[in-house]
Amino acid sequence: MNEAILKTVDLRKEFGGVVAVMDVSFEAEKEEILAIIGPNGAGKTTLFNLISGVHSLTGGEVYFKGQRLNGLKPHIIASLGIARTFQNVQLFGNMTVLENVMVGRHHRSSYGLLAAALRLPRAWAEEQEIMAKAREYLSMVGLAGRADLNALSLPFGQQRMLEIARAMATEPEILLLDEPGAGLNRLEKEELTRLIEQIRQGSVTVLLVEHDMEFVMGIADRIIVLDYGEKIAEGTPAEVQNNPRVIAAYLGEEDVAFLRP
């Protein structure tokens, strides 16, 4: 049994009077693919925001490889090894495809303002490294040929791939994918499944938030179900499928069909 690489203890997030995440505790094992599902508004993205440091915690703790992440700034958490993508793709539209991925290499490079301003050889050497590594990650998602296009000129499915490439370029140990399949057609989802498997082969733990149940059932090792901010179920896809609480939570939702094959 693999050790827990990520552990949350009674995570809580309140926005004024609204409790978005209520005392959620779970563990993610190293190199597993853990899916987080639940009806709309269940607090899944907020959970990701708490883990990545985008939101401050109202209560509870997050541990990454035993290190407490509470209160750390998002860029520090990113440099420690947790990367993420966003529900509404957050690409840098004023840059090329390659440059977007190069931003992912930012914390793996170090030359500063002075070296940049004076174009010192150290800066140039690091730039070549950054560019080369970025191209590798572009190849991984199949976008190598589009390196010099403006990021927003890519079709939507490829934009999602680009965001994943940028996240992977930070060399994370944990990758948080927020609805990576949303807006993709069946072919693109198959490609995405292959990519996620490939990422896991590279010793990265993947947490993904998703709505497409067929997609989730096909790829997840374990599933956590949230409803109104609370964890209501946890287990293998088969276990979760038959859980009456989960079925009740989804009643009235369009995805309820998945629960009874």
Binding site: P74, Q90, N94, M102, L113, L118
Partner: protein
């Protein structure tokens, strides 16, 4: 494509240098008695060219801050003022207070003062920037506005030090060594534009580095920049400090140009004019800075000199109306500024030409095919 952009930047710097040197040479050597202002029909003078150069230095910094880092500053004239006052006060120490005789009136003292001014302004920008840059959008605009006004008001206080609202005079000209003075204007022109070109090169280097990418990332999506490992707070402050130091440098050059320093040129209105120049020139490229300043000055001088001939009216109010109308028209047709607007137009005409050529080529090959069969 990145290489193309870098090559264009190099070409741009070379062309700018050549043009500046050529225009300056005209003024120095006066071939056939022609002076620089004659070349422009007496509309643009050497005086104007020096002012354009000085403001270009401020604007390059503002471009980095607003165009690249995406942080608005309605108080940039404040940093400009700090540099002017630093140079003004320090270089007149010997004369006004009779201290440091022998040091404060030597030729290298004003140069040292310029650097001291940049350092002081940079530290000030760092201290002020950390809290202020937590604000966003309109709140940041108001905070920078307030900052600029505070500096302006301080400039008018303490007449013992700053000369109050009348200002201080007697700022010496800059010289290299005790005998080569960078005056009259033809000489100062080369100093100002030499500095401006170096500043442009430095800014281009920053933009094309990982720092530039970090700034552009922050501009588009701060959260994505943060979660990709970019310390957004730190870079926003760095952009402010760099822009403040450039503005301070320009302010010092201005002080030695006017030989006097008073609060008037550093009011809120001056800050707004800087932002207008930046918007007109184009915020998405460093080249927007020299273009923006140049266009605004040329428009203003053109209006001033030709207003009567074209519109048969005279007076400051009409100048202001026409000037405002021109600005509105520019922003309607080229909202992203001149540099972006012009490059887009050029690309469009380039594409259209290629389309027409290929259509013509297809037509001729069609006709040759049908005639052959």
């Amino acid at each position: 494509m990145k290489n193309l952009r870098q090559h264009l930047n190099v070409i741009g710097v070379v062309v700018l240098t050549v043009v500046i040197v050529a225009l300056g040479a005209v003024e120095v050597f006066r071939p056939l008695g022609i002076r620089f202002s004659d070349l422009t029909g007496r509309i643009v003078t050497m005086d104007t060219m020096i002012r354009i150069g000085i403001l270009t230095i401020v604007l390059v910094g503002l471009n980095l801050l607003m165009g690249y880092a995406g942080q608005i500053s309605l108080g940039q004239a404040g940093f400009y003022a700090l540099g002017a006052y630093a140079s003004g006060i320090l270089s007149t120490l010997a004369v006004r207070y009779k201290i440091l005789i022998g040091i404060a009136d030597s030729w290298w003292w004003p140069w040292l003062s310029i650097i001291a001014g940049m350092v002081v302004t940079g530290v000030f920008a760092y201290l002020v920037g950390k809290p202020i840059l937590r604000l966003k959008g309109n709140y940041l605009a108001m905070a920078t506005l307030g900052l600029g006004v505070i500096i302006y008001i301080l400039g008018g206080q303490f007449p013992e030090i700053t000369g109050g609202y009348d200002g201080l005079t007697g700022v010496p000209r800059l010289s290299i060594g005790s005998s080569f003075t960078l005056w009259p204007m033809e000489r100062y022109y080369f100093l100002v534009w030499g500095v401006a070109i170096v500043v442009i090169i430095v800014a281009l280097n920053i933009v094309n580095s990982r720092i530039g990418r970090a700034l552009r990332a922050i501009h588009t999506s701060e959260v994505a920049a943060n979660t990709s490992g970019v310390d957004t707070d730190s870079y926003k402050v760095q952009a402010l400090v760099v822009s403040a130091m450039f503005a301070s440098l320009a302010g010092s050059l201005y002080a030695h140009f006017q030989s006097a320093v008073s609060p008037n040129p550093f009011s809120f209105r001056a800050s707004v004019e800087l932002v207008v120049m930046a918007a007109v020139g184009g915020l998405s490229s460093i080249w927007g800075a020299p273009f923006g300043v140049g266009i605004i000055f040329v428009i203003r001088d053109l209006i001033r000199s030709r207003l009567e001939d074209i519109f048969h009216v005279r007076g400051g109010e009409y100048e202001l109306i026409i000037y405002g109308l021109i600005l509105v028209v520019i922003m309607i047709f080229m909202p992203e500024g001149l540099t972006t607007g012009l490059t887009k137009a050029l690309r469009r005409t380039g594409r259209r030409t290629v389309q027409q050529l290929s259509r013509a080529g297809a037509a001729t090959s069609d006709s040759s095919r049908t005639s052959a069969s």
